[in-house]
Amino acid sequence: MQVFPSHTHRNSSLNDAVSLPTIPLYRSAPPLEVRLEEFESFAIDRLRVLKGISDGLSRGKKPEEMATLVKDLWKANMRHQHASEVLNKDIISHFVLRLVYCRTEELRKWFLSIESALFRYRFCEQGAEAQRVIMEEFDLPYKATSNVEYESVKEKLVQVARSLGQNSSTVDAIYYKVPFEEVPELVAGRKVFLNQGWAYVAMNQVVSLLATLFRSQLSKALILTNRKWTSSIKEKEKHRLAPIVEALSSSYLGPDYSQPREYGEISLKDIDQVVKSSFPLCMRHLFEKLREDHHLKHGGRMQLGLFLKGVGLNLDDALAFWRAEFSKKVGLEKFEKEYAYNVRHSYGKEGKRTDYTPFSCQKIILSTPGAGDQHGCPYRHFSEENLRAALSRMGVNSRATEDVMNKVRNKHYQLACTLTFEAIHGMQCDAGINHPNQYFSDSQKIFQQKVDSSLKFVFKTNACEL
């Protein structure tokens, strides 16, 4: 794959290759020329699909719900105005994201599991003939069970099928005998008969097997890509692709909250109240620490300051806010000299926008607070004990706390935050928490609704009395 500046035209060499299966297996980088702008935009489109899948999975959506979700995401993002380009877009975007996600273990893991899930759902959407073509492409190392063998375990196979709610009349007659290690999902769901380490995989379960193979091939490929990246591409593309690649991996795709909807949405006098009702734990913690110590280190000032800006605290109020606290510790003069400038700066210059955009959860979660730092995401950076204490101070009951801790243990920090949100507000938050400012605005919306409906209620009762 070669990347060209945007204006050059490329010859699409895959267009007439009609016999290719509808889901590419991404075995090798395509002999394609890619325009620089497509390099990035295709990747972003695919990333939207992957993030959508990842959210769906971590929210515990059911398989059927996931299937629809994936179909919709794919339709919405992976189209191309020229039908002939759709396959190219699929392949190019995959290979660009490989570069993006090959670079650390954590990134690789995420990419691997989401791409495998994507493959699985797409495979299931295919018709029988298309599935057969894809299967052949995989060149499975397993043979179907012989008749004799099939008869010897038939009773058990029927039992498994019936345990899955199938009618015995529709039970498959073609089974593959596969080491159980290769079909972890089928084992986990007790969807296969196991005997002496062999899993008997029915024809209609083969997708699970393919997904495992797909995954292991991709896993190996990612390691190789990583080697290539560190040994040459990174240096060669220092000025062109590397910055794009690096930006992509930390990209957060929701609204960026850099422009508060209207200044003055919150004012200083009710800030304490709002902190309690609508700040996510990360911000609440910073706020309380600031009140306690009258100081925050740089990381904390950035995280809280930009959040407050996004929430709608205007510059004057922001200055007053920081001044009130800091001057107690460092004195008024030092505050004006050393800190006030930064506050103004973060409200002012539009030029370096990225630096002054409120932090997304992803960015906060990936930050690495050191000694004396208070920033970061409490779900990730607090000890279990401290987190429990913080949750109980927020009024999360013990049942919900256990659910939260469970998510934390599985490293789903944003979900833990979402559950906290739901526990406190007594309402579902279907979109999940992706940004502290989103937490804030969702929370405010709920309170607004509550106020509205209680007003309506008052009005109604009044009307009755009339």
Partner: protein, 441 residues
């Protein structure tokens, strides 16, 4: 009979845990060389296929006096392992995974790129704890265990052990008493040690029947027209009989209103429960001859559910669901799912009970009695009675630890080491052949 003060002190050691006794235990009784042999998996041999770095990449952790916890200990050879244990005298020894590099030197590798220090092998482990059964046993709670509730552990061993062998094809399985309130299981086959986390999770989930949160064991839900062969086998071969002939009566599951209500709750048909409740409340006083009240009521329940009189959906399943809820093994899932979970080594002494973590023979697990497992002080007493001899190796032979170590060797270690030897040879020959093939090109 106290003859003189010294003698008296020697023969009546207080029945508790004591660091000084522990020192003696590690010095005279603990089977260091067996632990070493096991942890080497044949790599301490002379065969050119052996990996001499194998043992040194294994993590050991110690819990010392005052709850000091030292992780990432590693050892080059048998002598180092033994002298470290004797020297540090740990209250508890935990065994961790085999890493890609020597864990005690992990910092040296930390700089050279990501992911160099990572677990590469680990036994598949299971941890079953009787305190997780508190909602279904009335005799004890928490860490306590008696001969009425211990059989729950016994059948857990039978169910899991059978499936590990028959379904998954594992052969080298070690069951160990955890010293107080449960059992540990180590699956040591080569392919078990190499499982990925995902594969480990899949096995743990294969064993799981409790719905919802992993920490709440309340609800068993069995779906489908019939049970999966594994569950069906566990039910008909182990659980059903145990429930009906032992647990019902030993725990008096249906004797009082409070208890039978818990079981009635699991029947998904209001009118069926009402009928049973009526019958049982009436019956409270009339003594039903010789038959045990629990058994009688259980028969009534089964009869009613299967009579076809009530038609609620899933009603036919509730008998099985009740039996599963009360008897099916409750595994600590998290322990089994990840390679880097630590687990206490066999032959440690439990600091609260003083009992030694001895192996359990899964073929005769119903004979195992946790209340007569040798304690530290008992062992030292036995040793004193026999008198110390110069011949240090095999000192344990004179104590009741002898049979435990014998069992460890004959049942587990010897067959394991034989298999390891073969594995090392086969993979070495395969490699040799492979490189020959390459040369002939």
């Amino acid at each position: 009979m106290i003859i003189d003060g010294y003698q008296a002190r020697e023969t009546t050691l207080p029945n508790e845990f004591n660091p000084n006794y522990l020192k003696l235990y590690y010095g005279k009784l603990f089977p260091h060389s067996d632990l070493f042999k096991w942890m080497c998996y044949g790599n301490d041999g002379k065969h050119p296929g052996c990996d001499p770095s194998y043992l040194s990449r294994r993590e050991f952790s110690y819990t010392l006096d005052n709850d000091i916890y030292v992780r990432f200990q590693s050892f080059q050879n048998a002598a180092e392992l033994e002298s470290s244990i004797k020297d540090k005298c740990p209250f508890k020894i935990d065994i961790g995974p085999v890493y890609s590099v020597d864990p005690s030197k992990r910092h040296a590798y930390a700089q050279s790129g990501d992911n160099v220090f990572t677990p590469v092998e680990r036994e598949l482990i299971f941890d079953i704890d009787i305190s997780d059964y508190d909602d279904v046993r009335y005799c004890c709670s928490g860490a306590d265990v008696c001969l009425n509730c211990w059989p729950l552990m016994t059948i857990a061993i039978r169910v899991i052990d059978t499936a590990l062998r028959d379904d998954f094809g594992f052969k080298h399985i070690l069951w160990v008493f955890s010293g107080r309130r449960g059992v540990h299981c180590w699956v040591c086959d080569g392919k078990a040690r190499k499982l990925t986390n995902e594969q480990r999770s899949s096995i743990a989930d294969y064993f799981r029947v409790y719905k919802g949160n992993e920490n709440s064991y309340k609800k068993v839900s069995l779906t489908g027209h019939v049970l999966h062969p594994f569950l069906a086998g566990a039910y008909s071969d182990v659980l059903k009989e145990f429930f009906e002939t032992k647990l019902l009566t030993s725990q008096n599951l249906l004797s009082s209103e409070e208890r039978f209500e818990k079981i009635l709750e699991m029947i998904p048909d209001q009118s069926a429960t009402a009928e049973l409740r009526g019958k049982w409340q009436e019956n409270r006083r009339s003594s039903i001859a010789k038959d045990d009240i629990n058994v009688v009521r259980w028969e009534q329940l089964k009869q009613l559910v299967h009579s076809g009189k009530y038609k609620a959906q899933r009603l036919h399943r509730c008998v099985e669901e009740i039996v599963f809820s009360f008897t099916y093994p409750r595994l600590d899932m998290e322990v089994s799912k990840h390679m880097n979970h630590l687990l206490k080594a066999p032959f440690c002494v439990h600091p609260k009970t003083g009992r030694v973590c001895v192996p359990i023979d899964p073929n005769h697990c119903e004979e195992f009695d946790p209340t007569i497992v040798p304690t530290l002080s008992q062992l030292l007493e036995e040793l004193n009675r026999e008198g110390f001899t110069a011949d240090v190796d095999g000192e344990w032979n004179k104590t009741s630890l002898g049979s435990a170590i014998g069992l460890f060797r004959s049942l587990f270690l010897q067959p394991l080491l034989e298999a390891c030897k073969k594995e090392i040879e086969t993979s070495y020959n395969a490699k040799l052949k492979h490189s020959k093939d390459l040369h002939s090109w």
